[in-house]
């Protein structure tokens, strides 16, 4: 009986220790940073605009979001992103997103903003054919669309959003003509990106103070 109790105790302590250690090593994000956000108001309201949360919530005034506004990749306020349109929600890739991966995607988004990359209506991502057969880093991108910013921020970090797995066409950060075409025109749009390849985690405007 005693032996059994000790055995149970050891098992319990081990499970507890493992569960403690399994928690993310440090707090990487505190609110909604690193998640994708969308609003409507494009193409008579049938299409959306995409971005990433840079701050924990919309109540943080400065550099709240990362997006490309029709000119360059940049930080912006909540109003810059939503304007007078309807907010469509906070999303994460269907592939899942750990706390550390949110840190990766968020900082990749910041790296894109630091490059001041011009907007492109045609392609999620554009770059020189010199990059075919290599990974495309943020500073090698010559232009990108708003949904391309979201796609690249996750897929550079190996978190799939859109793209055929069978034909190995999903990772937008790999320099390849077929992948580049696959992520162009209306094969993918901000709305289809959110609706088909993301999971909604909050439909209302993200609020609150987290720090």
């Amino acid at each position: 009986m005693m032996k059994k109790l000790i055995y149970i105790l050891i098992i319990t302590v081990s499970i507890f220790s493992i569960s403690i250690l399994s928690i993310d090593a440090v707090a990487v994000t505190s609110g909604y940073e690193g998640y994708a956000i969308y609003r409507d108001g494009v193409a008579f309201g049938i299409e959306w605009h995409a971005g990433l949360m840079n701050q924990p919530s919309s109540t943080y005034e400065n550099n709240t979001i990362i997006h490309t506004d029709g000119h360059n990749t940049k930080y912006g306020t909540w109003l810059d992103f939503v304007g007078s349109n309807g907010f469509k929600g906070v999303y994460k890739p269907k592939a899942g997103l750990s706390n550390v991966q949110r840190g990766y995607a968020l900082t990749t988004g910041r790296a894109l903003a630091s490059e001041n990359i011009p907007y492109d209506v045609r392609y999620q991502l554009n770059y020189s054919s010199d990059r075919y057969g290599k990974w495309v880093r943020t500073y090698e991108i010559t232009s990108m669309r708003c949904d391309g910013l979201v796609e690249y921020a996750y897929e550079w970090n190996d978190i799939r959003v859109y793209g055929s797995i069978e034909n190995n066409l999903w990772n937008i950060s790999w320099g390849d003509e077929e992948i580049w075409k696959h992520h162009s025109y209306f094969n993918i749009t901000p709305k289809s990106q959110a609706s088909n390849y993301m999971t909604l985690i909050l439909s209302s405007r993200p609020m609150g103070s987290y720090k």
Binding site: A25, F44, H49, S98, V121
Partner: protein, 380 residues
Amino acid sequence: MKKAVVIALLVLLMSFMTSGTTFVAQQASILEKYENTSPEQVLMSLQTLPKAEFTQEVKTAFAESSQSDINNAIPFAAGLNERINEYSEDELISMITDSSNDLSFRVTLVQIYGSDNASGFTGRTAQGNETIRNLLLDSSVETILKENIIILLDFTDTAGKQMLQSIACEKDDMLAFQAIKKLNKFDSESAIDISKNILETYKTQTPEKVNAALKVMSEVYREARIQKAFTKRLELEKAAFIDLCSNIINTFEAGDKLQDCAILALSDMTDAQAITTIVENPNIDNSFKVYAIDQNYLTLTAMAESGSEEAIDIVCKAMEINPLKELSEPLSACQVTPMTRSENAVSEKTVKKANAAASRIALTGTNANPRWAQFYNEVN
């Protein structure tokens, strides 16, 4: 008689107003015309239009989209892309330089003209390149159009280099950023000179110029590591650069873009001192730290294998923040080697830390992003 003239004038005026309204309505109705049409159908329909009508519809759609949302123009931009080689270079240049055309339309034309991939215009000439490039000299041309010209056109001749060097020193912050970045691709010597001058007086410089200079110098030190080209002088310069980045990080408010750029520049160096600075700086938030540790997993591997107690200590701290499986083996190795390598012997305390770090990695470690290996080893 007078009455008849007045009536005639009224009729004329009304007819002009009516036809004018119709004209405006026609001009402004392209998006409405395709309102209930799928983008695929819009593209198919555009493909069948005669060139002149096609051009007019695309121009108008861009102009209308700029008033609402530029993403409305996606199928029209796609159509333009598909039919770009129906235009001569002169026709394209004429549409790009005509300031009465919508700005996004002109930007898209420059993007297609300048692309070297399958979407590009195939009839580019050096003369056409120069004509478009000369728009940079026109103060009335919009910054975003100029940015695209800098990014996509050829500037490798002497006049082109001089043009970029001049823009890099001018007031327009965003153009200077793009000019320095472009120069760095084919005339890094001149980009480095400009960057050093900017960083010497960074407190009085505009933020995007400082941002560009940070990127250029970060790359200089990364490449020096790859090519094993560090001299004592370059080592000193590197240390001063890391101090400068730390000053920016510590004096700017958290979340300021330039602070973020300084952190990214440090991380991009893939350097032991630089990653140490990131790991130890309390003003850098953890979302940056996990990214920098991931980006520098090979830097940290080299540190763990160096046998330096200080370096191993930093690797252990980094693994507390973001435990990576790739570091497990080098950390395990440093547990067993100290007794046989007296010159690099690590203390019992450090061994314990390495043990703890290895246990943490075994339980919670994830794989590092393998894409960083190319960045770690590739010279631009």
